[in-house]
């Protein structure tokens, strides 16, 4: 109890220093894409204390006298982008010792000064799900972060739920990435068996805790790995499941059925083959779209139309950068290429904002421009799906964290001498990264 209290106080003080933006900012005459409603051709966005206080047509929003007025004529404003699958920050999750390591927290490995986060801002990203790699059946706990300015340690990036708990999911993977020599599985059948055995252990662990009914004598010995899995079983920790092939997707739906966990399917290269099944299960998909198929057997059937096919089947679709597989600065390319291949524009815009927020249980706070939500938004020079459009500014919780007109920020946006030196992610057991 004492620990929780201390953490709570620390949390409040961090929030206090990081987004104390008491000034009111009014962005006037902008084209506004709120995501939650129709586009506003000429509108006003009003933000104060890190929150959105008004959004609407220019005629409908009263701008207080003390507000800092920003003329955003000719510019487009939309919510900060949400990446549901990123490896930024020089992450290192599970190591090579075992295929299932739910005890590992990826946030114990993140360098908040990594230049990758500056590039993410330049791409308009404000919230990430940072994950360990896919070289394991289960490579550890992921962390949902808000890319606040001035961060000194990972705590400054944390998003916390109503109880003050650090938010994050559980990274799992099936298919070939997690198959190799023992103790790792050598086949798909073994992969599923190992996962099932571990979740059955977690069920037993949970049942012991329930039976103990608060009696410390009867409590099982603490196991931080099983604790993480119990959170999965209870639905407070969502499984983010790397998967490509259609049969691997079906395996996940089967495991989900058996253990009742909440899951987001990631990559989903062959999702177009089982779109109806995914829709029927009501499972959301975070899709990756890269410039060509192949590079590994499982991605040979990757197509640009996956987003559209899933959308039409009724599946909630997000995209993700998988940075460094793709570059956070170019995140808009992915929904735009999906729209090119038949996805609706509305679903494309939603896929990098509100859809992601829903997958991370954050849709009450981020993902759209609505009164009361966090003031996370971006200013664009033009249409989000045009190659020529630039992210001009990125704001997180009412604070400007990226300004393309600033030479230092611009260096990270376009690259150049001195823009490099970011830390590379650690992906256990791979030579060439992961996907």
């Amino acid at each position: 109890m004492k620990i929780v209290l201390t953490l709570g106080i620390a949390w409040v003080s961090i929030c206090g220093t990081l987004y104390a933006q008491s000034q009111t900012h009014a962005f006037l005459n902008a084209r506004i894409i709120p995501i939650s409603g129709d586009d506003i051709e000429r509108g006003t966005l009003l933000v104060r204390d890190g929150k959105i206080v008004a959004v609407g047509g220019s005629d409908g929003v009263d701008v207080p006298a003390e507000a800092v007025r920003v003329d955003a004529r000719g510019k487009t404003i939309m919510p900060g982008l949400i990446c549901t699958h990123s490896h930024l920050g020089g992450i290192g999750g599970a190591d090579g010792s075992a295929p299932i390591q739910p005890d590992v927290r990826v946030y114990d490995s993140i360098n908040v000064h990594d230049s990758g986060f500056k590039r993410a801002w330049a791409g308009g990203l404000t919230t990430l799900n940072i994950m360990p790699g896919s070289g394991h059946l289960l490579s550890g706990q992921t962390v949902y972060v808000k890319l606040r300015g001035g961060a000194r340690q990972i705590e400054d990036f944390f998003l916390r739920d109503a109880e003050g708990r650090v938010m994050g999911g559980m990274k799992m993977a099936n298919g070939t990435n997690s198959m190799r020599k023992s103790p790792f599985p050598g086949t798909r059948g073994k992969s599923a068996a190992l996962v099932r055995e571990r979740y059955i252990k977690a069920q037993e662990y949970r049942d012991k805790i329930v039976r103990a009914d608060g009696d410390p004598e009867k409590m099982p010995e603490r196991d931080i790995g099983l604790e993480g899995l119990v959170e999965v079983l209870e639905g407070t920790r969502v499984v983010h499941y790397h998967t490509h092939r259609h049969d691997d997707i079906m395996t996940i739906l089967r495991l989900r059925e058996e253990f009742g966990f909440r899951v987001v399917l990631h990559h989903v290269s062959e999702g177009w083959k089982v779109a109806e099944e995914i829709a029927k299960a009501g499972v959301p998909c975070s899709v990756i779209l890269v410039d060509s198929p192949g590079g590994k057997l499982e991605a040979v059937n990757l197509v640009y139309k996956t987003g559209g096919v899933l959308e039409r089947a009724g599946v909630q679709v997000a995209f993700h950068t998988d940075d460094w597989i793709t570059d956070s600065r170019l995140f808009f390319r992915m929904p735009a290429l999906a729209v090119r291949a038949g996805m609706s524009r509305a679903a494309g815009l939603r896929s990098v904002t509100l859809a992601g927020a829903e997958m991370l249980d954050l849709s009450d706070r981020i993902g759209s421009l609505e009164v009361g939500k966090d003031a996370d938004f971006i200013l664009l020079s033009g249409d989000p799906f045009s190659v020529y459009t630039k992210v001009l500014e990125t704001w997180v919780e009412g604070e400007k964290v990226f300004d393309r007109s600033d030479a230092k920020d611009r260096l990270y946006a376009v690259g150049g001498y001195g823009a490099g030196a970011d830390s590379e992610p650690y992906f256990c057991c791979f030579d060439d990264g992961e996907n």
């Binding site: 890269v290 590079g295 057997l297 090119r340 799906f385 459009t389 630039k390 823009a419 970011d422």
Partner: protein
């Protein structure tokens, strides 16, 4: 429009026409359909954009280009239409056809790791014309590829130029032996006690090999008939480099390595191509003075390790400085297995290169740098009938390539 036209000739009938044409023409080039392509905008790359233009292709070659009201489309020609018509795109450096889609040992022929210097490896002996990624890049408008052995060894082998069609290498090939590919970057460095293990050693080895090749040439030219050295494929290939019959394409990223490549070029009076060259913006004057073209890295290359200082703006900077520059899809070891040069040019277009500049670097500029400008790279009478059709600005994310024509043959109908 293209979507509604008749079915593209299937592979079988195409093969048939190739057989017939092979019989008729010793050169191996293909007699193809007679096609006229109408475009709301026709980018010929030979002057101003033609509004409402038409390109007529007869027997595989462009026979007329101009405004639709001035060019007669001959009777019986198939007519295609698009908003935007461009020359078929040229990817100035790729490994497609060598580095296959599956990324398994059996389809990876881009790099032989058994020795650091193997200029004798011919590209024609490894190119797989049925590789799926050839069709993939073609579906975005790419009709010509400079492809071959990938960077990665000090001298990895030879490269070639192909058209993105053909069932055999001889049907695909345009230039059998193009460049010899050398690498001055981390990827050529060996570990432990193997050479080259350092930057200094890489240069020392390259110099020694070129000196040896020079001596070999000398002996062949001057020695009496009975004292001529026996044939050495490795030295023959390097001899072509020394005689400037083949460019030495040096892949280097950091400024110091680019400077080393220029030093090597000066010492041996080579025809040099800089490849990758992510820090080339630091050596503008030196590269310009050397008269060396740059086959720049993919604009979206991951900026890590030696490539950490890459910039989206480099193509624009080099072109503005008057350095011949072109773009490439490069080599990818994982996912995606290839990039698409159209996309790379699009990002460059939006970052200083501009629309016209970006289209130039993947058409006419690429053709001139590769020395194939007499056949491809622009829409001009007498050149190959290689054309790409789009339903909008080719660089926009949401634009579709709706057709591709190679030497008058419709090889892609926009159906992907």
């Amino acid at each position: 429009m293209m979507r509604m036209m008749g079915r593209v000739m299937g592979r079988q009938s195409w093969t048939l026409s190739l057989c017939i044409s092979g019989f008729l023409l010793s050169s191996g080039s293909v007699v193809s359909g007679q096609v006229a392509i109408k475009g709301r905008q026709v980018h010929t790359m030979e002057g101003a954009v033609i509004e409402n233009g038409v390109v007529v292709i007869r027997d595989g070659k462009i026979s007329a280009v101009g405004r639709a009201d001035r060019v007669q489309i001959p009777a019986g020609f198939r007519v295609l239409e698009a908003s935007v018509v461009t020359p078929g795109l040229i990817d100035a450096h790729s490994t497609v056809g060598f580095s296959g889609i599956f990324n398994h040992q059996h389809d990876q022929d881009q790099l032989e790791r058994s020795a650091p210097v193997q200029p004798q490896l011919r590209a024609i002996d490894a190119y797989n014309p049925r590789e799926k990624l050839i069709d993939w890049v073609r579906s975005f408008g790419v009709t010509t590829l400079h492809t071959g052995h990938a960077p990665g060894e000090l001298i990895s082998g030879q490269t070639m130029v192909v058209k993105t069609r053909g069932d055999t290498v001889s049907e695909a090939v345009m230039v059998e032996a193009m460049a010899v590919a050398a690498t001055l970057s981390q990827s050529a460095r060996k570990s432990k006690d193997k050479s080259p293990g350092s930057r200094g050693k890489m240069m020392a080895m390259l110099r020694a090999e070129l000196i040896k090749a020079g001596e070999y040439l000398e002996k062949i030219e001057n020695a009496e008939e009975d004292k001529k050295p026996s044939r050495d494929l490795k030295l023959e290939s390097l001899g072509r480099v020394l005689r400037q019959e083949a460019p030495l394409m040096v892949t280097a990223y950091r400024a110091q390595d680019i400077a080393s490549a220029l030093r090597l070029g000066r010492e041996f009076d080579l025809r040099l191509w800089l490849d990758g060259a992510s820090e080339s913006y630091l050596l503008i004057d030196e590269i310009k003075a050397a008269g060396v073209p740059v086959i720049l890295h993919p604009t979206m290359m991951r900026s890590v390790r030696e490539q950490e200082n890459a910039s989206f703006e480099t193509a624009g900077i080099l072109r503005a400085a008057g350095i011949p520059v072109t773009l490439q899809s490069g080599y990818e070891s994982y996912v995606p297995k290839t990039r698409v040069v159209l996309f790379e040019a699009g990002i460059a277009a939006a970052n200083g290169l501009g629309f016209e500049g970006a289209l130039s670097v993947i058409t006419i500029d690429a053709a001139q740098i590769l020395g194939i400008g007499d056949r491809v790279g622009s829409l001009a009478v007498g050149k190959d009938g290689d054309v790409a059709l789009y339903d909008g600005d080719p660089f926009e994310y949401t634009t579709h390539c709706i057709g591709v024509v190679i030497e008058g043959e419709i090889v892609y109908d926009g159906s992907r």
